[in-house]
């Protein structure tokens, strides 16, 4: 379980870099956007590259021909490019930050989940897996995720991205209400 910062404000004073407030981190992502737009002339995004990787994963399962002839993977081929290495960088950056701030910790069942659904690892993994499928399918259908649409598209004032932001938050809030509504002792089925 992640054992950090019960109170962010105190943490930010005590452990210098570990407690950057969300505002500073957000502004930092904004400044990073300037640099990324300026240097490589591309917006920050995740799921296009993740689709490219999925094409690579699909080759041994569906066969190379099926992947090669797929119209979506023809547009988003499985290659090592700027976008796909960006994914590795994102993982590494968070890893480095967690190590340096001593907040690296293995976690299988987070507290908000276990408070509601109990300590079962299998249950949490099943939900994470299914949620990942739905989130990714939705992101590709919408044309982007919280990074590509939400932040990069939002900051470009794209109509599609603002529609995405509003619908995504509304749907997420409704889903969270449904899933985490208070229940009596008798544990009910999830979702």
């Amino acid at each position: 379980m992640v054992s950090h910062a019960p109170d962010i404000r105190h943490a930010s004073r005590l452990t210098l870099p570990a407690g950057w407030t969300p505002y500073l981190a957000g502004a930092g992502i904004g400044v990073l956007s300037w640099i990324v737009f300026g240097v490589v002339n591309m917006p920050i995004g995740i799921t296009t590259a993740l689709s490219q990787l999925a094409g690579g994963v699909a080759i041994p399962i569906l066969g190379a021909d099926a992947v090669a002839s797929n119209s979506y993977w023809a547009k988003n081929p499985f290659i090592l490019d700027y976008g796909t290495v960006f994914l590795g960088g994102t993982l590494l950056g968070a890893f480095a930050s967690a190590l340096i701030s001593r907040r690296f910790a293995f976690e299988s069942v987070p507290t908000v989940w276990s408070d509601r659904f109990g300590p079962s690892i299998a249950k949490r993994y099943a939900a994470a897996f299914l949620g990942g499928i739905v989130a990714m399918f939705g992101a590709r259908l919408a044309g982007g995720c919280t990074s590509g649409h939400g932040i990069s598209g939002g900051l470009q004032l794209a109509l599609s991205s603002w529609v995405f932001l509003v619908v995504m938050f509304a749907s997420g809030i409704a889903m969270a209400r449904l899933m985490f509504r208070p229940v009596q002792r008798s544990s009910r089925r999830m979702s």
């Binding site: 992640v2 981190a25 904004g30 739905v134 989130a135 919280t146 794209a158 995504m168």
Partner: protein, 191 residues
């Protein structure tokens, strides 16, 4: 030779920018499942603070760069039916997974094993999308397709006014959130 050098430089930038992105996501605490789910339960507004700060700061800078001819906009198509359904699915999936694609990858770096399981789900979701792409392209994407529209084009309200309004809105919202977390419910950081 030159082409290879440019390619390698681009890859290096991909790792570097991805690294910075992952670092900032962790610093902003949005690699934490509890923080994300509590946002959708309206108990913790970290996600909104990060995203709005990034949009306002990033948007103003990218606008200036674009006006100076140093970058160009990359607007996603407003296939509004696809965006609406996709965003709806995304909100549901994000709450069940507990991460979005970018924060999920970053969370793997911080030791979240369920984020890793969900990332496998995301790959499956991407495969399913690629397999259904032809049908979706024929039947969903053309509906309410407005093209690469920006809010200033759609409304006739200039960029500067949008960002002024967004900045004021963000500051007012942040003030309300901070005020409420200081006075009202002390369990705003409840996990």
């Amino acid at each position: 030779m030159i082409i290879i050098a440019i390619g390698l430089t681009l890859l290096a930038f991909g790792v570097l920018f991805g690294f910075a992105f992952g670092w900032l996501l962790h610093r902003g605490r949005v690699t934490d499942y509890n923080v994300i789910v509590n946002q959708f339960l309206l108990r913790d507004f970290t996600v909104l603070k990060v995203m709005l700060s990034a949009i306002v700061v990033g948007g103003i800078g990218v606008l200036l760069l674009q006006r100076a001819g140093l970058t160009s906009y990359h607007i996603k198509d407003a296939n509004l039916l696809g965006v609406a359904i996709g965003a709806c699915l995304f909100g549901i999936g994000m709450v069940v997974y507990g991460y979005c694609p970018g924060t999920g990858l970053a969370a793997i770096g911080t030791g979240s094993l369920h984020a890793l399981v969900g990332a496998v789900g995301m790959i499956v979701g991407a495969v399913l999308y690629a397999l259904s792409f032809d049908w979706i392209q024929a039947n969903i994407l053309p509906i309410w397709a407005l093209g690469k529209v920006r809010l200033p084009d759609l409304t006739g309200i200039p960029d500067a006014a949008w960002f002024l309004a967004l900045t004021i809105m963000a500051i007012a919202l942040f003030a309300v959130i901070e005020h409420r977390s200081r006075t009202g419910s002390q369990r705003s950081d409840a996990r």
